[in-house]
């Protein structure tokens, strides 16, 4: 044991038990837990909406929900899942908790700003919840004009304001991470020694800071047209509805990298640990994150091939979209090569991670279909697109999030979960996911448009399979949730480094970490993922 002589009496969880000590905390770890609780609630709301409309879609006619209810539910599912789960999940929870721990810092650069970010996130969330309670919003998460700005008869203003506000939380968190990673690394922790999770957070933070203001401006213009009658997107007033799509996707395409890049970071950590290998081609994986962040800003028009945008502009967007696929392919090849001659252990986080690679691969390859101009024309706005982005966002991002949560759970709470049930949950989620979303590729290829609450009977077999799969996946998620939560009560103490992983958070901080993270001064003298270093295997 390395920490036998200086075990402090209090860790971050036991240092204060009052509600106030949590709500006014500036400890990055406690803020991470606040995000975890809030985000889990939002996730459950989004999942409930999905459950309801999946039931409706099981048959081709309307027998559960009315048209307006259906439209409100898929909109709510999209808004909540994108803006309140996918975007902030890994940065908000794992990023907040582990960025300082992984670089050997006491906290983030601006702890009070960090707390403010959480309050801003909550304020945005409450506005959105108010919109839902007040009767919902039916524009789709994309808020396309002039439907949203003129025609929709639902709570566009409240929900738009909610998303507008929560964007500032992303910007401030991004700013905080950029400064923290630049200025607060421990001595000896050079850029090329950083864990890839940090590289991923850094790339994400840059997109957040550059892209999110554009979303804020766009939403503000929609609200200006809706409330004040400005003519910006409405052609009746001389506006251009396609301008909205350009502005929206200028943020929202990079936003898919905001969602997935942190997941890439998690995958690199878990893969290295459970194969006891350095990530193959570390530099390529690190710089591919930056390349994705940069090229990702210039591909937004591939959402608009049928929108009446110039076909020549479409050509440029098409070729750039393929180019963003290259660094992504590099990552997948390198992750696969990492396993070569490793010591592979299929623990729960590793199962999620390998599941991630398979599902993300399918999501990425179907992205090539959609980048192909002629192919896109048929598949655009069909279930093929729905399946594609769920493979990337749920199969990719959510699997990575669950991998990260299981991987770092012992560090966050000092408890081991039941490994058997965690693996059962991972396997059921993997198969349930494929069962849910694979049939949607076929429905989309056959031409079934998305956002239809009633549809032609020829698509019914695929929708029925999809609904059955969703319940299967739901069971997996419940097993996962119960396993993790019950470990807090019945779990065995995890010790400092249960997986024998490299990294400052595992080797210098106790589980759960002390209020100020480290009790000894840190000096880094090893490369990242050095699994030959015997020191990491010493702690039981």
């Amino acid at each position: 044991m390395n920490d036998n002589n200086t075990t402090p009496p209090l860790n971050y969880l036991t240092n204060g038990h009052t509600v106030k000590s949590w709500l006014l905390t500036v400890d990055h770890k406690r803020i991470g837990i606040l995000y975890l609780i809030a985000m889990t609630c939002f996730f459950l709301i989004g999942a409930t909406a999905a459950t309801l409309f999946r039931l409706e879609l099981a048959t081709h006619n309307a027998n559960v929900l009315a048209n307006d209810t259906y439209n409100r539910l898929f909109t709510m599912h999209g808004i909540i899942m994108v803006f309140f789960f996918l975007i902030p999940a890994v940065p908000g929870v794992l990023g907040n908790f582990f960025v300082p721990l992984m670089i050997g810092a006491k906290d983030v650069a601006f702890p009070r700003l960090n707390l403010a970010s959480w309050y801003i996130y909550m304020a945005g969330g409450l506005f959105t919840l108010a919109a839902i309670i007040g009767g919902g919003i039916d524009t789709g998460w994309t808020f396309y004009t002039p439907y949203s700005s003129v025609y929709a008869d639902s709570h566009v203003i409240l929900a738009g304001t909610g998303v507008f506000i929560t964007g500032f939380s992303s910007i401030l968190t991004g700013l905080n991470f950029i400064v923290t990673i630049h200025k607060m690394r421990a001595p000896g922790l050079t850029w090329m020694r950083l864990p890839l999770f940090i590289w991923a957070q850094y790339s994400t933070a840059i997109i957040n800071v550059l892209g999110t203001p554009v979303l804020a401006i766009t939403l503000l213009l929609v609200l200006a047209e809706r409330v004040l009658g400005f003519g910006i997107f409405d052609p009746q007033k001389g506006g251009d509805p396609v301008l909205y799509q350009h502005m929206f996707w200028f943020y929202s395409h990079p936003a898919v990298y905001i969602m997935i890049l942190p997941g890439f970071g998690v995958v690199s950590e878990v893969l290295a640990c459970f194969s006891r290998k350095r990530i193959y081609g570390y530099e390529f994986v690190a710089f591919s994150s930056l390349a994705i962040a940069a090229i990702g800003f210039f591909v937004w028009g591939h959402h608009m091939f049928t929108s009446s945008q110039s076909p020549y502009a479409g050509l440029i967007f098409s070729i750039l979209t393929y180019l963003v696929g290259i660094p992504t392919a590099i990552k997948i090849f390198n992750w696969t090569a990492t396993l070569y001659k490793g010591s592979v252990q299929l623990s729960a986080p590793m199962l999620y991670t390998l599941g991630f690679i398979g599902l993300f691969l399918v999501g990425g390859l179907t992205g090539l279909f959609l980048a192909t101009k002629a192919i896109n024309v048929h598949l655009h706005d069909t279930y093929f697109v729905v399946a594609h982005f769920h493979y990337v966002m749920v199969g990719g991002m959510m699997m990575a999030w669950l991998a990260g949560l299981h991987f770092w759970w012992p560090k966050m709470f000092g408890k081991l979960y039941n490994e058997f049930w965690a693996r059962v949950g991972a396997v059921i989620i993997f198969f349930g996911f494929n069962f849910t979303f694979f049939p949607q590729f076929i429905a989309g290829y056959m031409g079934m448009p998305r956002r239809y609450h009633v549809y032609d009977i020829e698509y019914q077999p695929f929708q029925m399979l999809s609904t059955a799969g969703a319940f299967f996946m739901g069971i997996g998620l419940i097993i996962c949730l119960v396993t993790l939560v019950s470990s807090l009560i019945t779990g065995k103490a995890s010790g400092k480094n249960p997986w024998k992983a490299t990294g400052l958070e595992w080797n210098y901080a106790s589980s759960p970490p002390d209020t100020h993270n480290f009790t000894v001064p840190i000096k880094v003298d090893v490369e990242a993922y050095d699994y030959t270093d015997e020191r990491i295997y010493q702690d039981a």
């Binding site: 081609g281 393929y322 696969t336 691969l361 192909t372 002629a374 024309v377 956002r451």
Partner: protein
């Protein structure tokens, strides 16, 4: 592909659709290959190199450049094939043939309104003759819709305040799906209809009678060209735009489909969108050598009337079909 007698692929109703299916098959082959290969390698490694003892200390693998180079170059070549093939397929089939029948499509929450060249209208049904290219000139009265014919692999958004175009060549008689693909509000899912591909003779018969689907209308009662000519005269457009000596505006009477020179030195095509925008925002594009003197017809002419004027200008254009 068929399992349990469930249909799993769409009809390929045209030559274009069959070409589309070939490219789709290429993409599918590349995707299946990489999915099987990578998942296979992962499973193989996970079994072959499973942790046998907690004392396992695998030796580090030295990073090589080979994987990174092959991993960039091979995918690059494969996707460039996709890019060029997809772009070629798209651009080859972009411009409608000259002999296409032009049908006006208007999207409206939540219905499709079609108007045939002789003025006959129908709603949510579209009758077309087999073997003749069909050009759709489309606009919307309210929000964005999208005209989607899955069996022809064609789709185009239908926007308010603007015309978009799409064309297809029906090969086989039959009934095909027509969907709205862009979410447009409460009854989006009911903004659907049928494309009826019928024989030439039946189309002629249908055009001249009450027809079977949609709203019946006597032929020529609503001839857009005649109506457009009347509007042209009523609104005194011929005073300014027919090339009379001293006219304040450029002669555009027979110019539809030609390139027009602007004050800025640019050339623009006089097409549906140009005419429409010139009526609504006359000062956007000022013709070379003429003052910005035209007043807007916004509020004076409705959507339908603008369509009629365009139809008239097309009918008198010098290279009119």
């Amino acid at each position: 592909m068929n399992f349990f007698a469930i249909k799993t692929s769409p009809i390929a109703a045209s030559e274009y659709a069959r070409e589309w299916d070939k490219l789709y098959a290429y993409l599918m082959a590349v995707s299946v290959f990489f999915t099987v290969a990578i998942c296979g390698v992962i499973i193989f490694f996970a079994v072959r190199y499973r942790r046998r003892s907690d004392a396992d200390r695998p030796a580090p693998t030295k990073d090589g450049k080979l994987l990174e180079i092959l991993g960039s170059v091979i995918p690059f070549i494969l996707v460039m094939v996709m890019f060029f093939w997809g772009a070629k397929l798209y651009f080859d089939a972009r411009i409608p043939p000259k002999d296409a029948i032009e049908i006006l499509v208007t999207g409206k929450q939540w219905m499709w309104k079609m108007q045939h060249p002789n003025g006959k209208r129908e709603i949510n049904d579209l009758h077309v003759p087999v073997g003749v290219p069909i050009k759709l000139t489309m606009t919307s009265e309210d929000v964005i819709h999208s005209f989607y014919l899955p069996d022809f692999r064609k789709k185009m958004d239908v926007l308010p305040g603007k015309y978009t175009q799409m064309w297809f060549l029906p090969e086989q008689e039959g009934r095909y799906h027509l969907f709205c693909a862009e979410y447009c509000g409460t009854e989006h899912a009911l903004m659907i209809g049928n494309l009826h591909v019928v024989s030439q003779a039946e189309y002629e018969r249908w055009l001249s009678t009450g027809g079977t689907g949609g709203m019946a209308a006597a032929a020529n009662a609503d001839d857009p060209v005649a109506a457009g000519q009347a509007l042209w005269e009523v609104h005194c457009m011929m005073a300014c735009h027919t090339g009379r000596p001293g006219a304040i505006g450029p002669n555009i009477h027979h110019a539809f489909g030609t390139m027009r020179e602007l004050e800025t030195g640019e050339f623009v095509l006089m097409d549906e969108n140009y005419v429409r925008n010139s009526m609504i925002n006359p000062n956007d594009d000022i013709a070379k050598g003429y003052p910005a003197a035209m007043t807007s017809f916004r509020g004076t002419l409705n959507n339908n009337q603008m369509n009629q004027i365009i139809a008239y200008l097309k009918s008198v254009a010098e290279d009119a079909p």
